[in-house]
Symmetry: C2
Subunit: 244 residues, 2 copies
């Protein structure tokens, strides 16, 4: 049974300020919960309608479908909801290829970018403080478990870039044609906000402006979705590492 | 002023069956509406809070912000809502590169795939009958105007593929490494459903199974989001056309 106090706590985790206050976030659905249980993340509580998880008994609470509905953020809740602890942020001075996000606001975009990082073996994702919170339930859902494998850090992006070595790439509507550019196997790739692109202060620190050329005869398409741009840019950087 | 009858009609267009019955769909926001006004799409009615559009007077209805709220499907409506006529579907026997979608269900995914087609100059998108309707307001919104430039056809995918010439490519978790494959500048690329991939009946007609290899050390990532897969595959097919 889930207590009133627990319901209140879980519901509060829909808001970033309470996630930060309590250091907790929620994961829903069988697959997602299993991935987090099998990771370094620490379980706080598992609320489940079926005894199918390999989780400590003292942290597991059996609940009814009706109770699950009360605590779920989904229209169609799926079996269980787990509360995990938000891990401490690690300072990233990792070498290799890194992605940095400048004010990406859409949870679905951040989620799929985390999934892309996981796919392409990018272990560190650096986000500006005004990028959407990666423990937002919609982000967690969209990452499909990849959040357990990609380290996400929130920081002042200018400071981070200034203190990093390696070339800084920025994606713009104009710049070097990515298909014709020599690309290294390390560095920072900055992707900007959905509507405004990369902010002026961050732009100053970009060493190389790259662009994905348009092939359509119209050339009126405003821009690519930021997650799709991330997909294409990561694909280009990474394929070069296998072709040589 | 918007009449009760008009409110009822516009609200009904949130459902596919009424869009099909009336042959109408809605577009919201200044930029989107302007793109459709400048295209071959035919305006039925424009409901606007500001006189900023180049639209026929007899089809324009001045409304208040409160009225816009009543007819909008958005949380934060933006200036205007337009009703356009759904054009007749054209039979596509176009040469060149084509994308075919097998039961893609998420409106955001379809919208960004249409935007990608536009970016990469793919003029025809063929969808299975059970793919989400491209006149769904969320799809229209996500295309950012690209729907005015990409022809979308709904049909029986098996029949379509059987009657088409050119190689049929399918994206799978296993197959030819796309980065190492020779790719032609025409053919059909089939992308499958978000959860289940390409369906068995359609799979039979695929000539070449291609895959986007994983680079991460974990190799546990389940799959890429279908729109991101579309981005990477289109990028690979199209970059080859400029490299030779």
């Amino acid at each position: 049974m889930v207590t009133k106090h627990q319901i209140k706590l879980i519901k509060s985790l829909a808001q970033k300020k309470y996630r930060q206050q309590f250091g907790l976030f929620t994961v829903e659905g069988i697959k997602g919960i299993e991935e987090f249980l099998n990771s370094d993340f620490q379980l706080e509580n598992l609320f489940t309608t079926k005894a199918i998880f390999d989780a400590p008994n003292n942290l597991t609470v059996d609940i009814s479908e009706a109770e699950l509905k009360k605590i779920s953020s989904l229209k169609n809740p799926n079996t269980a909801l787990a509360v995990f602890k938000i891990p401490e942020m690690v300072k990233t001075n990792h070498k290799g290829l890194k992605i940095a996000l400048d004010a990406v606001r859409d949870p679905g975009n951040l989620g799929t970018i985390i999934r892309l990082c996981d796919w392409y073996g990018v272990q560190h994702l650096v986000c500006s403080a005004n990028t959407v919170d990666c423990y937002n339930s919609k982000v967690v859902q969209a990452t499909m478990g990849s959040l357990t494998r990609v380290k996400v850090t929130y920081t002042d992006l200018e400071d981070y870039i200034k203190s990093s070595s390696g070339q800084v790439f920025g994606t713009f509507m104009e710049g070097e044609n990515i298909y014709k550019s020599k690309l290294p196997d390390e560095g920072i790739i900055v992707l900007g906000n959905e509507a405004n692109g990369i902010s002026e202060p961050v732009k100053k620190h970009v060493d190389r402006s790259i662009t994905i050329p348009q092939f359509g005869k119209y050339r009126e398409t405003e821009s690519l979705n930021v997650a799709n741009a991330a997909a294409i840019v990561l694909s280009e950087f990474k394929r070069r590492t296998i072709e040589t």
